[in-house]
């Protein structure tokens, strides 16, 4: 059992810079939470506060109901995996994995059993006599995870563990982390700035910006019903297209386009009648064959899909990306008719979502 409750946590540095504002989160036992956001948004700081590597300026942290806000890092029963592996170069893999238990003066036979079990889980049994320098980046990161596993901590903390790996290895190691989570059923907090990692790994995602939590939810919730413009733009690749549009009777009017609204959308946008809002459309929700004219300026073939960039109408500012299914060879200056199959609406002033992702 390991439930983590983070209540109203702030981080204010000595120079009065506030890195985290009123962070609240309840992590259930066995849950994998991913903290995602751009660099400098406070996600690593939050993780380090949970680990005990940074002081908590205000608020409380509870582990299984016990207040551990002031508990030293070594007594928190949490294990952290770092981006740079933090392995001892002069020790073998076996010694690296056994190190924390050796320091605790555990029985060497018990340590041996735990290390072999962790190595078996991570597929490192044949590497135990090697030094870290003889392993690939992915294997080193697995060793770092193994070092955490042997401790059998209540909570695993991952601070951008895949950032040092190349794209292929990152994908493979990501799948290993997912399998590891399923196998151990452990409570895990994972920090990344890579939304693909967040979407593929998380039970729930915490999206952060400028020290504030923007939205907490399942990957589908964040993708389908972003709480605000920031989440909508951050989650999804390529990012969402945004257009300024005015709410008219039954339709939205923007520069160079008009979009009909469904009854439900109309109802949601009723308070905004005559006002300007922001229309968000994901590139994958832009489909060919509508009435909106898109002027192409670049065409990227991705195999199964074609990513077409252009702008709507004559308005050069209305840039749009469309992820069209199939192989197309549009040239610069071509005009393509498109339709928005799914729309998101955002308040122009606050950036908050209006009526959360209605189907067209």
């Amino acid at each position: 059992m390991a439930e983590l409750n983070i209540q109203h946590v702030d981080k204010i540095y000595d120079n009065n810079v506030q890195a985290v504002f009123d962070f609240n989160l309840d992590v259930k036992d066995g849950e994998l939470i991913v903290l995602v956001g751009p660099s400098g948004c406070g996600k690593s700081t939050t993780l380090r506060m949970i680990a005990g590597l940074e002081d908590i300026s205000a608020g409380h942290l509870f582990l299984d109901g016990r207040d551990i806000t002031q508990t030293p890092a070594k007594d928190r029963d949490m294990a952290m995996v770092f981006q740079n592996y933090a392995l001892y170069g002069h020790m073998t893999i076996y010694e690296n994995m056994a190190f924390s238990l050796t320091l605790r003066k555990e029985n060497p036979n018990v340590i041996h059993k735990k290390v072999l079990a962790a190595a078996e889980i991570l597929g490192l049994t044949s590497q135990l006599n090697k030094k870290p320098s003889q392993l690939s980046g992915g294997q080193r990161q697995r060793v770092a995870m193994g070092r955490s596993i042997v401790r059998n901590p209540k909570v695993f903390l991952f601070d951008e563990p895949l950032s040092n790996l190349d794209a292929k290895l990152r994908g493979a190691t990501r799948r290993e982390i997912l399998l590891l989570h399923k196998r151990l059923q452990a409570t895990m907090l994972y920090v990344t700035h890579d939304q693909t990692e967040a979407l593929t790994l998380a039970d729930r995602i915490v999206c952060m910006s400028m020290g504030h939590v923007q939205q907490v939810g399942t990957p589908l919730e964040l993708y389908d019903s972003p709480a605000n413009r920031f989440v909508a733009s951050f989650i999804g690749l390529p990012p969402m297209n945004f257009f300024d549009a005015t709410v008219r009777e039954g339709e939205l009017e923007g520069r160079g386009f008009r979009v009909k609204l469904t009854e439900e959308e109309n109802g949601a946008l009723l308070p905004y009648a005559g006002k300007e809002i922001e229309l968000g459309v994901r590139p994958e929700d832009v489909q060919g064959g509508g009435e909106i004219a898109m002027n192409v300026f670049s065409n990227e073939n991705l195999g199964m899909n074609t990513l077409v960039h252009g702008h709507i109408g004559e308005a050069a500012g209305n840039r749009i990306s469309a992820k069209l299914r199939g192989w197309y060879d549009y040239k610069e200056g071509d005009s393509v008719n498109v339709v928005f199959s799914r729309k998101h609406f955002f308040d122009k002033e606050t950036g908050e979502a209006i009526g959360r992702g209605k189907n067209a």
């Binding site: 010694e95 060497p108 036979n109 041996h112 135990l128 006599n129």
Partner: protein
Amino acid sequence: MNEEKTIRLDRMRYTKNTLASGLALLSIIFNVFFFISIYESNVGSWYYNILIGASILYNLVFMLAAFLSSEGIKNYKIGYSYVMIVLGIIQVIRIFIYPMRAHTATVTIQDQAVTVMENRQFIFCVIWLLASAACLIVGAVVGMVRSRALKAHIATLDKAA
């Protein structure tokens, strides 16, 4: 074979033989104490012959061989156990070369007969050499026993596989 013993043997597959290796390194330290003790003698020219040159060279060879043995034995290489036994025996023989001869020899300084190596210095030299030899031999035995046990354990694992 009980489980504890099996795990203890299995551990050796991934851990170094630090006991035997440490003993080999300790033997070097005792050897250093020995030659420091012998060089503190100040008895004219009694030592000035080919033997002291050979002794100095042997000290260098000994330190190199003992260090290499410590590295070898650390990785359960049984051959280095034999090297350590030979080095240990030579350390015992060395007692009869310099300390014993110097202890019984006298030189004349300012018309007075002086013993080359006094009792205190002699005892220390013998202790350092014996300690060095003991470390080497015990280390060699430990290395031998563990190396054989590990070899047998790996053979059992191979057979089971």
